[in-house]
Every structure is written in C-alpha cells, then in structure tokens.
C-alpha cells in the first residue's frame, strides 16, 4: 500500500481515474482517448498547482514519506565498489548510521549517512535512523580515516534526531555529537553534506559540518521537530503545522537565512516518485560541488569552512 499524503490526494484520485479510463479503453470498443487527453491536461495543471506551492507542513510530510529514498538507495545509484564497514571500536555497531568507502566517478570517497528503514521491521532494526553515541563514533572513525587517506567525505543526513534514550545518555550522546562537530570542522578533505529527508537537530548536524550543506528541495532541517516546538512553546503538539512555518525549516527558507549553500531540486511529486531520476539530480550537485572543492588547497579549504560557519547567525552590533 503506497503512502498517500493529504495534500496530494486530488492528484492521486485524478491519476487513478485516468488509469481506469485507459484500462477501459483497452478492454472495450469505446474510444475514450479524447477524454483521457483532457484529464491528462488537467492533471498536469493540478500537479503544477500543488507541487509548486508546497507549504512547510507539506514538505515535512514529504520529507517523512515512508518510500522516500534513503542513504543506501542513493549510495547504490551514485557510487561504485561501495564497501560498508561496521562498528565504533568502543561499544558496538549502530545500524542507524551506515559508513564505508566507495568510488565516485572513479575517485575514492568515504560515505557516511543516517539510515532509516522503509518498513516497520527495518525501522526497528535501524532504530528509525536515530543514532546512539556508537553511531556518531563510527562516523567519526570513518571520517578520520578519510582525512588520513585524503578522500573526500560525502554525508547523507536523514534522521529525526539523536536517540533520546537512557543508554545513549549513559554512553555520552552529547560528547559523541560535540566531537563530530569539532572534528568535522578540521578535516583537511572536502566534505559535502546533503539533507535527503529529515534533518533533526544535533543528531543531524553531527553529520552536517562541512564545506557544503545541501538540501533536497523537500527535505527539512530543524533545531527541533515541529511537534516538539509546538508542545514546548504553546503546550499543544497539535500546532505542529504552525510551528513548521514559524521555525523556517524548509530548503528555500534556510538558503535565505544563509544556513545552507544550495538546494538540490526534486522531481515533481517528490523524490520517492522515481529514485533513478532523483539520483541523477543529486549526482549533478555532488559532481559540481566536489569539483569546486577539489581545486582548493587544504589551507584555503579549512579557512573557507571556518569563514562559512563563523558567519552564520543574526545579530546587531
């Protein structure tokens, strides 16, 4: 059963109607071609109306779509020779984060990303893509290795946040995140971070410090979930829709605030519609930004990275 989002119900209904008419035409003598063409024009217009006017809350739904491509989906499409490696060497292997090495258009890279599941079973194994400290430490280990061997790092961000559990606290969730933020700011290799789904708070940022922070058009990046903000600010989790607007969590808003560097367009209807076409758009973005970054001298790279972060914020002086 495909997940249908509230705002796209009219589109789905119309699409089903067209499919129905097509089947009918095929199976009977009645020629409904004219009718079908009419409906297809209407569908085109409807899709345009809906998908070019997505509200923040619609995008939250899109970013959370069960079938939205995950890190491993993109890895399979964009890289060759991917080898996934496990474990943080201290405690365990966190399935909520995947990491490994691969080739990107012939050059070696290190890949790190949050990994959620698409089914309940998978999600339970992946802890819904919400990492424990060992996940962040696994990521750190691979990024340190990338820096040692001079490989660019590609990070995929897709998490509701770091897991708020007892064991996570006991093993130093804060320290694990903090260390990643600090170390990522200093690795002498290009780092490209891409928010592909939800980018929730510190757990997202822990894979998000680099030379470029890119967002898929319908992904979100936020200091707190809209539900969380609504319940804290207005003691009403039901006001999530309002919070989603106020918090400025969409790619266009964050580009304007100077938080992200670029937006990767999504195919119409969202990334989940067609992984292959979406992966091509992600591919273009990585290729473009990587080639810019690879030209830079290590010192310049680090200087620019520092400049970028030291300039984020808004205040009067």
């Amino acid at each position: 059963m495909k997940q249908v989002l509230e705002f796209e119900k009219p589109v789905i209904a119309l699409r089903e109607k067209i499919a129905e008419l097509k089947t009918f035409t095929k199976e009977s003598d009645l020629d409904l071609t004219e009718e079908i063409v009419k409906l297809e024009t209407r569908l085109e217009k409807l899709e345009n109306d809906i998908y070019t006017n997505l509200k923040p809350w619609d995008r939250v739904q899109m970013a959370r779509h069960a079938e939205r491509p995950t890190t491993l989906d993109y890895v399979e499409k964009l890289f060759t020779d991917f080898l996934e490696f496990h474990g943080d060497r201290y405690y365990g292997d966190d399935a909520a984060i995947v990491a490994g090495i691969a080739k990107y258009k012939g050059r070696p890279v290190t890949i790190v990303g949050h990994q959620r599941g698409k089914t309940t079973k998978e999600n339970i194994r992946r802890n819904f893509g919400m990492p424990h400290p060992e996940g962040f430490r696994k990521a750190a280990r691979h990024m340190q290795q990338a820096a040692k061997f001079g490989r660019p790092i590609i990070c995929f961000i897709d998490t509701k946040g770091a897991f708020p559990g007892r064991a996570a606290e006991e093993r130093g969730q804060s320290e694990a995140i903090a260390r990643n933020l600090m170390e990522m700011s200093g690795f002498e290799v290009p780092i490209i971070c891409i928010v592909i789904g939800e980018g929730g708070s510190g757990g997202a940022l822990a894979l998000g410090v680099g030379d470029r922070l890119l967002m898929l058009e319908n992904s979100t990046f936020s200091v707190i979930s809209p539900e969380g903000a609504a319940s804290i600010l207005w003691k009403d989790g039901g006001k999530a829709k309002e919070a989603a607007e106020k918090l400025k969590i969409t790619a266009p808003d964050l580009k304007e605030l100077g938080v992200i560097d670029d937006i990767i367009p999504e195919i119409r209807g969202g990334a989940h519609r067609d992984l292959t076409s979406q992966a091509e758009l992600v591919d273009q973005a990585i290729a473009e930004h990587l080639s810019q970054l690879e030209k830079l001298d290590k010192q310049v790279l680090l200087e620019q990275r520092w400049e970028k972060y030291s300039n984020i914020g808004s205040f009067a002086e």
Binding site: G186, A206, S222
Partner: protein, 285 residues
Amino acid sequence: MLKDFFSKKKHASKPSEEAKQDIPEGLMLKCSDCGKIYYREEMRKQLYVCPNCGHHHQLPSDERINNLFDEGSFMEYDTDLNTGNPLGFPSYTQKLEKDQLKTGLKEAVVTGEGTINGFRTAYAVMDSRFRMASMGSVVGEKISRAIEKAREANIPFIIFTASGGARMQEGALSLMQMAKTSAAVQRFRDAGGLMISVMTNPTYGGVSASFASLGDYNFAEPGALIGFAGRRVVEETIREKLPDDFQTAEFLLAHGQLDDVINRHDMKKYLTTILDIHQAGGNVS
C-alpha cells in the same frame, strides 16, 4: 462526612503552612533541597551553596566572575552584540526584553578575560536566569569570539556552562551555533590552547552537545543536571522510570563522562592548579 470535613481542613491548612515559610523576595532564601532558610546575604557569601546540605544553587554570572577572578583584573568582551528576531518569531522580542529587565543582562552569556591568581585567562560564563541560557546567535557568537580571542592571545579559555539547549525562536540559526562554537574550539585546539569546561546546573541539548563537552578537561558542579535529552523526554521514549540520580554530575562521573565534580568553594584553587601545571609545560606562555 465529618472525616471529609477534617481532611479538607487539613488539606486547606497546608498552603498556609507553606505561606509561613514564604519569604520576602530579596531578604531571605530557602534552600530548594533541604528547606533551610538563610539570609540572602549569607547565602551570597557562601556563593549560594547551602551551608546546611551543600546544595549548589544558581550563581549569577557577575558573582561568579567576581569570585573567580582577581580583584580588578577582569574586563568584558563584546558588550555591544544585540539579539534580533531573525525569524520574526511571535513574542520573542518581548521575552528577551523581559529577561533583560529582570537580570540586567543583555544576553545569556558574559565573556571576557581576567586573571585567576595571576594566570591570565579568557572566560565565558552562561547565566541561566536569562532565557534558560538557551543558545541563540548572540550566545554562539560571543562564545566563539571569546575562544578566538584566547587563541590570538595564547591564553587558556574557561567556560562555565548552563543551558536548557537551543534557542528555539532562532530556529536553525541556533542549531548552527553548535557548529560555529565547535569549529572555534577545533581552531583553538590546533593552536595548542587549553580549554576547561565547567558544567553547572543545568547543561542540556545543543550546549551539552557542543563546546560544553569539548574541554581538555570537563568538570561539573555537584548535583548539576547534564544531558543531551531531558529526563522527561527520555522517560517518555523508553517508557521506563529513571533512577533519581540520572543525569546528575555524579551519575556522569560514574559513567566516565566527566574528569571530576568540583565544589564551588574549591573552584578557584582547583582551576589555579590546572593553570599552573599547564603553564609549566604546555603551550601557555
């Protein structure tokens, strides 16, 4: 019925009992832990550590600075940074103004430098009376600049943290202060700088998960609550009751997350020893 009458009365008398203990604002202070009442002035002299039970109460930033640094030795950095309302968040500006009025502070952190028993040191002291010392653009910027100044002057950096976490009203700009401050720590580290973090009650969320955890030495005051996610959120997530001491400084120490827990009365001497050892050998010239 008679029983009801009495039990009601008993219940009604309870608040009045508390009302007796209700102390005029400013003159007396009641320890939130053991309930003993002290003159505010006495508590102030004791650095707001309860003389009876040792509970560490909130210490205003100016008093901490006064107590820690040698008399007349300290100055403040970046006093002219003003918080705006970058997202146009409803009632944010009013909330800021209210806390400015209440505390006399412009924002939730005071930064600067001074000497501690003669050792020149840059500092940042967060003040939880101001918006729970949540981290917005100004807090992140001031801390980041203080670390940069310590790097340029080749002096140690000491931070006293306290925070409820991110400043929600500044959205992702608040989140990114975690990256900015952590990047500043990395630069300071690369230059061989000494950073000491002292976590005070409470240190949570984005502050706990950035500079607060990045000292060469990480300490906490007794009883301070420190964590990434708050107790209530954790309890709701795992549907399990947590131990009473969960996320206390002592709990963190037992779990290997802190170098030590330091009593406020011993703080100056303790920090002096660290500064002294580092001056003898490290990169502090």
